[in-house]
């Protein structure tokens, strides 16, 4: 299953970081990306510019309104995303916990909408792969 890991952080927290702290944070991201690539789970990901650079458009009574800023004023803002492939929610959560910003922010883990899988093939025996754990 594919999951989008959305990284929410209070920009004020990151802006208050020293250069050294920011450096450590970025190194952490570098290592995480390497690990994800090595495991073959990374599908994509980017860091976003801060919301000061954002523009929002909404439709109001038939016409578009274009405004400066994010779609809503929130305490934490979307700072980036990572798209991964994981066998289940538990693995996706495991990766989310490793995201360096998770310590001072929130990571939303949302599954990607995928088209219906082809019909189940009749299997003579139950799939016992789950019996391998615990």
């Amino acid at each position: 299953m594919k999951y989008l890991l959305m990284i929410y952080v209070d920009e004020a927290v990151e802006n208050a970081m020293s250069e050294a702290e920011m450096g450590t944070l970025m190194e952490g991201y570098g290592r995480l990306v390497e690990e994800m690539e090595a495991e073959g789970v990374l599908q994509g990901g980017e860091r976003l510019q801060q919301v000061a650079a954002a523009t929002s458009i909404t439709s109001r009574s038939g016409s578009f309104a274009i405004t400066d800023g994010a779609f809503a004023e929130t305490k934490e803002q979307l700072g980036g995303y990572i798209l991964i492939e994981a066998p289940s929610l538990d693995e996706a959560i495991g990766w989310a916990k490793k995201i360096p910003s998770a310590i001072h922010g929130t990571i939303e883990v949302r599954p990607i909408w995928e088209l219906d899988e082809p019909p189940l093939a009749e299997s003579a025996q139950a799939d016992n792969s789950v019996a391998a754990d615990s």
Binding site: S88, L89, D116, P119, L120, A126, D127, N128, D133
Partner: protein, 424 residues
Amino acid sequence: MSDCLPDGVQAALKAAWTQRASLLAALIRAARGDFVAAEEALSQALEAATAVWPRDGVPDSPEGWLVSAGRLALLRQASRAAQSLETSDPDGKLWGGAVAPVEGEVVLDNLIDFGGDDDQLRLVFTCCHPALAPAARVALTLNAVCGLEAHAISRAFLVEEATLAQRLVRAKRKIRDAGIPFRAPTSAELGERLPEVLKTIELIFNEGYACTRGRDLISERLCDEAIQLASSLARLLPDETEPMGLLAMLFLTDARREARVSEGGDLVTLPEQDRRLWDQRKVVAGRSLLAQAVQLGGDGPLVLRAALAAEHSTAASAEDTRWARIVELYDALLVIEPSPVVALNRATAVGEASGPQAMLTAVEAIEDPGGALASSHYRLAVIGEAQRRMGRTLEARASFEAASQLAENDMERRHLLRRAEACF
């Protein structure tokens, strides 16, 4: 289930029902984790059994028959879904039409791996996954693990049946859509996952114990189910002491059930309870489990809370209670579970051990950053009691009246108003 089923069929269905965790597990695996599809398939299989068994007799392996029927139901569901994506199979030969397996199609016992206990564990941990909302975990556990139908659960929690049914549907869909895996945690994950399960079981028990409608069958059923769940957990995780602690605490608390509500339907507080009504078998069971947990080195929050319940349940009377020991236990509990509610309980114990002034001081010293206490009747009730004991009757009356306005149900409100009136 129909009342006009022959006895043999009834008995077989009942027996199969006790294996529901294994049946569901087999179908969840066949459905590749789709909880929703598996549940639907299981109920279709049961429907088919009630239609076919009276006619053809109970099969040699009822569970095997049900799993086969369930698998056929899954194929049927899947082919319907496929047909909505593309046209195929105009002669309808793909799944043969009926859900009931025809002779020769029943998969024999030895091909089905019943995980038994492991499946029970997998099901409980899946239903109590942290990705599900607490209310959803409670409803789903009662439904999928304990086998309660939506209408029974909705009556127990005093919510509209439609609301409860929706809650269940959403929870099952979330399991499927978010990919919550059908498995039990590894020992490394247990530390994080077990408390959620224990909390869910406790919520179920509390709902039954709260007796908001006085004593009735549903309340007792909930308490019993919670005790059953805690008991299964303790048995399936013999190296863990917290499930033992939970079970001990539930036994010790449940022991007092009969004394908690008066004939008139009023709440009877612990010091006022007639201790002869306490169920001593449950007290003994609770104490024995607690001793086992302590011997294994258990010192977690549930073991401590069981120890607290034991102090109350073994005291011959309110005056004989070892209050100083209780304060010590609360001190230990506050270190690992620093909640304002626990601090308030401690303050009450301090009052018993060291007098009302100490009690008041203890209450006033409680930090409540979340503001949870400010909107609860409990804090005001404790303050009122302290004031009453110090002879500050007017203040006590005011405190109890203010507390009654914050009460969560009629029984508590009446109780607090009575205490207010007793201050003159």
